[in-house]
């Protein structure tokens, strides 16, 4: 009897696993079929106004890049504080937990917040607002990564640095961060992959634009927002473009993730 129950349960959980995997691969396969069918060179050379995606790729990338420039220094400094300066006091563990909570905050709420503090005073949607929203989303991930990775650096390295008389910030920059470089880089890559696929916080902060622009003071082209708009259009051709965009976005995100994995593996 016990053996029968055992068999049944194992069968059921395998079945559940197979069922889940079927759904997930169904998504990937349709995405690939639809995406590859819609791919062509014009997507990369034309802007959205001419049924291309060029301005959207560049726009999305710039938004994510600015978010990195804004979010990473603050996030890393916060991570360094938590691990190196706080001596694990109450404030540090409070911030640590808070940052973890913030990591799971709904991204659309971050969008409403940025709308209230950036878009509303300016009067119209603009690229900066989108980048700031993404930076806020990214911040807790960077904090967590830096905190964790610095925590893995052996204590002896720090002691050695301090023993030769180096000030603490030099120990941190020249020894500890160097030792944790690979881990932090991986974390940053994954954080970048996470924000580049975000749509919700951009919908009403940076909006979207049909044209190529580098001016962050006006509405800024975004691939994900465009996918949302195009996919719900009645025009079949626009839907195809949306599939192509979705496919390229997914491939890009997956490549960054695999790259992150590969770097970590090389280290080991």
């Amino acid at each position: 009897m016990r053996l029968v129950i055992n068999k049944i349960v194992l069968f059921l959980s395998t079945l559940a696993a197979v069922l889940g995997l079927i759904f997930l691969f169904w998504i990937l396969i349709t995405l690939t079929i639809k995406g590859v069918a819609a791919l062509n060179i014009h997507l990369f050379t034309n802007d959205l106004v001419n049924n291309g995606l060029r301005n959207l790729f560049i726009g999305q990338f710039i938004l994510a890049l600015i978010a990195v420039i804004l979010g990473v220094p603050i996030g890393m400094a916060a991570g360094i504080y938590l691990q190196e300066y706080s001596f694990n006091n109450k404030f540090a563990s409070f911030i640590r937990n808070l940052s973890d909570v913030m990591m799971s905050a709904p991204s659309i709420v971050i969008g409403t917040f940025v709308y209230a503090v950036v878009v509303n005073p300016v009067g119209h949607m603009n690229g900066w607002a989108g980048a700031i929203a993404l930076a806020i989303l990214m911040l807790p991930i960077v904090v967590r990564t830096t905190d964790d990775m610095l925590g893995l650096v052996p204590k002896e390295l720090r002691e050695a640095g301090v023993a030769i008389g180096a000030p603490k910030y030099k120990v941190i920059f020249n020894i500890i961060i160097k030792a944790a470089k690979v881990g932090i880089m991986t974390g940053l890559l994954l954080a970048f992959a996470r924000i580049i696929g975000e749509t919700a916080p951009l919908l009403f902060t940076s909006g979207n634009s049909q044209y190529f622009t580098l001016n962050l003071n006006q509405e800024f082209p975004s691939l994900t927002v465009a996918i949302y708009t195009l996919a719900t259009m009645p025009d079949k051709h626009l839907v195809e473009i949306a599939w192509a965009g979705a496919f390229i976005l997914t491939v890009f995100v997956l490549i960054i993730n695999l790259l992150g994995r590969y770097i970590t593996k090389e280290k080991k």
């Binding site: 016990r2 055992n6 997930l24 540090a92 992959a193 719900t232 993730n257």
Partner: protein, 329 residues
């Protein structure tokens, strides 16, 4: 230099606290007009953008089943299944102009119910499958199988949620409506897509906590003649219980605030779903579709909804973090 850097890093750490409190305060300030006007009654009022006559005979609320058509928005059209008579009928009834002696009422019950029900549906669907996957990965499959499948699951967790939404709109929605009837955009489809979206996230977290069970414990159980199921039930579950429940609540928090996967498939109409296969709306979707062109009281009501969502997910996530996933450092 040392002192400056120390101050700077402490300041950065404080930024986290500042941003989170700023979000709360700013949302509250913007929501204040709506909070003052509707108060707590907002939570149980199913009317959204409904004009109510202020005349003396206002006892019977004038047009009593008016649905704001949110898909006429040029920027973010709400997804509509093409041949859905239900949705179109609902969309056909556009809002009446508010004249001087009417007042527009905003209530949050429909999106709140939509959010909660779609999340519950997602959990019902995702929990068994995610448990199956993590048991499969942790105990049933050998390392040759569990490693690539585990990596695949983690990669799937990284796919942007908009992809899940798009797939739901074009493939899964019609599939579900074919089986269960109803329209291809509905509460049911939204819940299921949401469930599928959180499966990879949930199962990789759950597997990680299962893997923390010491081998020695499992081996001793096997040595006593326990079957695999008994080891899972009596050794792994009790040991990893906290982590497993915590991961599930975290996944629930993610489902609660998810916008894009739901926006495509929930229908985006302010109607109370009578059946599970009816279209409705959830808080993130209301925000996504209506935010850009709202102003005045409707914008304030949207901020009220955002505040509710923020507080709700904050509570859920903190509960998971502080109660179940305490750092074991």
């Amino acid at each position: 230099m040392e002192a400056i850097f120390k101050k700077l890093s402490a300041l950065s750490a404080t930024t986290i606290l500042l941003i989170l409190s700023a979000i709360f305060v700013v949302l509250f300030i913007y929501a204040k007009p709506a909070v003052q006007k509707y108060g707590i009654h907002f939570l149980v009022d199913p009317r959204w953008d409904v004009s109510v006559s202020l005349n003396k005979n206002s006892a019977n609320k004038t047009p009593n089943n008016v649905n704001k058509n949110i898909s006429d928005n040029a920027l973010n059209p709400a997804p509509i299944g093409e041949n859905d008579a239900d949705v179109l009928a609902a969309l056909g009834e556009t809002n009446t102009q508010s004249s001087n002696n009417t007042e527009t009422i905003y209530g949050g019950l429909v999106p709140i119910v939509g959010t909660i029900f779609s999340t519950i549906l997602a959990m019902f669907f995702a929990v068994p499958i995610a448990m199956g996957i993590s048991i499969f990965l942790a105990e049933i499959a050998g390392p040759k199988l569990s490693k690539p499948v585990g990596i695949a699951i983690e990669l799937l967790a990284a796919i942007p949620s908009i992809i899940y939404g798009m797939w739901g709109l074009f493939y899964f929605g019609p599939f579900v409506s074919h089986i269960f009837g109803g329209s291809s955009v509905s509460l049911l489809v939204a819940g299921l897509v949401l469930g599928i979206m959180i499966i990879p996230f949930m199962s990789s977290l759950t597997r990680d906590s299962m893997n923390t069970t010491p081998e020695v414990l499992k081996e001793s159980a096997y040595a006593m003649g326990a079957t695999k199921f008994e080891v899972i039930k009596d050794v792994i579950f009790p040991y990893a219980k906290q982590g497993i429940i915590g991961s599930m609540i975290l996944a629930l928090g993610r489902a609660l605030g998810e916008t894009m996967a739901v926006a495509f498939v929930i229908g985006g109409v302010f109607t109370f779903p009578k059946k599970i296969i009816d279209p409705t709306v959830s808080i993130p979707v209301v925000l996504a579709n209506n935010f850009a062109e709202s102003s005045g009281m409707s914008l304030s009501a949207l901020f009220y909804l955002a505040l509710i969502l923020f507080v709700l997910s904050f509570i859920v996530i903190s509960f998971a973090k502080f109660y179940f996933l305490r750092d074991k450092k």
